[in-house]
Symmetry: D2
Subunit: 302 residues, 4 copies
């Protein structure tokens, strides 16, 4: 039993064989550690199947940046050129026609959704502070002392701050591409004693200090008014437990005149909108299904 | 039974009567909601007893600032002039001779300890972003739906961001007083699904972008090298669970050249160094006891 | 905002008016505290609408038993005679034709599903020990100090043991009715630091001490082999987190020859199979929908 | 850094060398996995040092029982004969003169303290059901998927029920020895989403069904009235969070006439009274120190 919550199902997980996949699948999703799935992906791509990849391998456009952050040469630079970044809210048209979709990491999804609209409208300066908080499932199921219940419970801790986390260049790339300017940021991830959820708080200096707070909320509304999964909160602040188990996103922004700073906030479920849910959203686009197909679960609260 | 963890003790809590206090106490500690304890404090102070107050009433030096943030005139402006801010690491000498000590709030304690040394040495600019994370005990024991287990568990949420939290002016005052310059900040508190602990992450721009990271660690070492409760972490990041149940403080700082930003971090137990423990530390100073008397409990981990 | 996880929806909750209900509803669900909803239910029932009630008012068949445990006379003894107990696995045929369905409490659901098959086949003696463990959402959303995060977190406690909990007579009644004999039990509920989930462990002496362990698993299989929501675990023990957020049930049984004792175990999500999900299951039966309609959510793990 | 909560200390952990121990220690405490520490213990014992062992190696008196449950021959049957069971409340005099003390496991400590007085006075039958609940630290710090935060959080699960847990014979041995009769039991341990604490609920049939509930409380009072660490709760039920971080024990008992069953309950902190605290309590006895020396920490609540 790999996933005990599927105890009621009699589905058997089988090892993936490229020939079977060629014969039986229209679209292939891969979710392997970085560097592991490339040859499988290459052989599947050769057969003309669309690949939706949840690893880090095809997220960074620049193979040298990949080599720098993952400390290994990129395993398939040729394939990399075909990859599209799988964040539908900003690259929907690219995804529709893509052959290889690189699903974003969980932190970049939350961060990009929080602040990209403000950057696109040049409402804030492109130097950002991202203070993000994540549940433990982001670290995967492989056992490690630092993620044991006794080590995590009843405590919060930052980790890999000040440019040490591999999602840093991915966020910079996504925000730069979305807004057409060079965006840089410092990233402070934290581990929170909960299983699921990411909260990204992004601090940015407004380009116009006299703009009222509504400026930022309106920009979010303009960007997301027709998005099927995003709710712009105007009179409340977000809570990861209000999107848990769903592909939904809550975003908002506030302005503090005290030091002239905007704070944009976004919550997602890292395992859904931050991973598998986003992959299904891409699948729906690729296959011409309604974008919310299979993704209409209401958040589980409490 | 008020405090069930004292089930083994047969101590009876009695209502406080000013006459009894006059006769029996050398020092009086008060921990009432703001505005409630002032007349008691005034009558005790008249008797020449030292008062250590854990409420918000005597923390802000300026009665007008108090009126603005607590939406009520200050209840005892005359007494206010005698009050000393009870953070021994920066006002130890004042505390030694004080008649009225206003113990800091939990967020201001963590924030001030994180960044004051860097401000005092003019290593960072005095406009700060404080992204702080707290356990639920900071909200007290009065029942409220928003602090029920089912509402808090498995989620993290910001609250009162962008200048809405009453600890904002207290932090600005403490940091300004400690460093001799006007310090302003935006404050983003968060509620974390844990009972105890505060983590303050303070972002500040360095005055010298070419200074190496060690600059900031060395400043913390200079400030706290002889402090009995503070450990400067050089090669690890802090975790609230490593100080839980103790008066101990872990601080560190990192520098991210990517956007030229220093992040200073501090963890405390909000109920000990952030409240009762700090009051006892002040008591020890006032009475001439060793400063660590009664405060030598090792953190409870896990 | 009453339910923040529905932030994406623009549905407005309206106060229920009996006339509206008469005009617009086919089936009416009520979930009010005991004693509060009776007149509404009576007026709706008069209109020939089927009522599915989640309160305690119509669960106990005997109005005197109700009066004894709820310390108030039964508010509608006449209606009580029409009520059917809404546990489809044992009263499916009655529910199909019912006009008033009393949905079971969360503890009685878990306990009955765990042990009723063994009692029905006379495999165990009808004196039971029920040691059950519940998350905090069972207590509702009304604020109370004892359910604040800081009071519940990092601890487990029994409450209302030894005949003090109102679900005791309900469990005895359900098990007696299902098995055609007088069943009595002692009930020990516990509060666990989690939001959702109930685990019921039922201890019973076997009628045949020489029967092998498989006897009990086979009885569960016979009872539940065709049930759409129940999985009998043969080689694993249940975990509440494996059914969270779903209407699913995991049951199993073990035999300890050491003191000649069977332990039957059942996990449910108290807010789904233990409350709203079960009500929908009843609704599906009443309306002739597929029994799993609207209830196919996979458990959320982790 | 092995124990991060000792960051303020500059103590260095050194590898234990038998010669050093001989020269420098009066008493030696060992806390190694079973089977690992025997040769060290043997060499230390030869030097006449008292050994307090927290492993499972010397708890079971009968080497054959050890071989059966630990699936390996006992590594030192000769030493085993000198071992005394380190539960001061029942074997204080033996401990005073012991050369080898085998500290009890955490479950046996809680279970024995809950029910032994009732068995010693022959108030209950010697066939018991022990339904116990533990935090995760009982499993140690070695990483394992089943103890990762994401797998444990928000769920409760039984494990090794019906005679599969190695503490079963230890509990039977301790209760039989304490009460002078053959005690048997079925043991159902559970994993609770908390780091520390054990709650043992012991169900036993009274020998006199007409005895009032006070009978059982009085027996607990007689047994523990002068015990420094035990509080008998008369009007409340225990909660693990009320003893957390301390060597304290809360016990109580209730009687349910409904099925003629006594339930005795005990809470301890599994890492203190269930492990290291108990070892220190034994050390104090051996060395003639006050029994509470070093063990006066008040429970940390919340």
């Amino acid at each position: 039993v790999v996933v005990p919550s599927f105890a009621h199902s009699n589905r058997i997980l089988e090892a993936a064989k490229p020939d079977d996949i060629a014969a039986r699948a229209d679209v292939v999703m891969t979710a392997l550690p970085h560097g592991v799935g490339t040859s499988l992906i290459a052989s599947v791509a050769k057969l003309g199947k669309v690949v939706i990849d949840l690893s880090a391998d095809f997220r960074l456009r620049d193979p040298e940046l990949y080599a720098e952050w993952y400390r290994t040469p990129h395993p398939a630079p040729a394939l990399l050129r075909e990859a599209v970044y799988g964040l539908p809210e900003f690259w929907r048209n690219d995804i529709l026609n893509a052959s290889l979709i690189a699903c974003p990491g969980c932190y970049p999804t939350a961060t990009t959704l929080a602040i990209a609209p403000l950057l696109m409208e040049r409402l804030v300066e492109p130097q950002l502070i991202v203070d993000a908080k994540s549940g433990t499932s982001g670290a995967g199921r492989a056992p490690a002392q630092e993620f044991q219940f006794s080590e995590v419970g009843e405590g919060i801790r930052p980790y890999k701050v000040a440019g040490a986390h591999r999602h840093t260049p991915e966020m910079e790339q996504a925000l730069s591409a979305a807004s057409g300017q060079a965006v840089t940021l410092t990233f402070s991830p934290h581990l929170v004693p909960m299983s699921r959820g990411i909260l990204a708080c992004v601090y940015a200096r407004p380009t116009d200090p006299d703009a009222p707070e509504s400026t930022y909320l309106e920009a979010l509304e303009r960007a997301y008014g027709y998005e099927p999964f995003i709710t712009v909160l105007s009179d409340r602040l977000p809570d990861t437990s209000h999107v848990r188990g769903s592909n939904r996103v809550h975003v908002t922004a506030r302005y503090d005149r005290r030091i002239n700073m905007v704070v944009a906030m976004c919550v997602i479920d890292n395992l859904v909108k931050g991973a598998a849910g986003q992959a299904i959203q891409c699948l729906n686009l690729v296959q011409g299904y309604p974008e919310t197909e299979g993704l209409d679960a209401v958040p589980l609260f409490p």
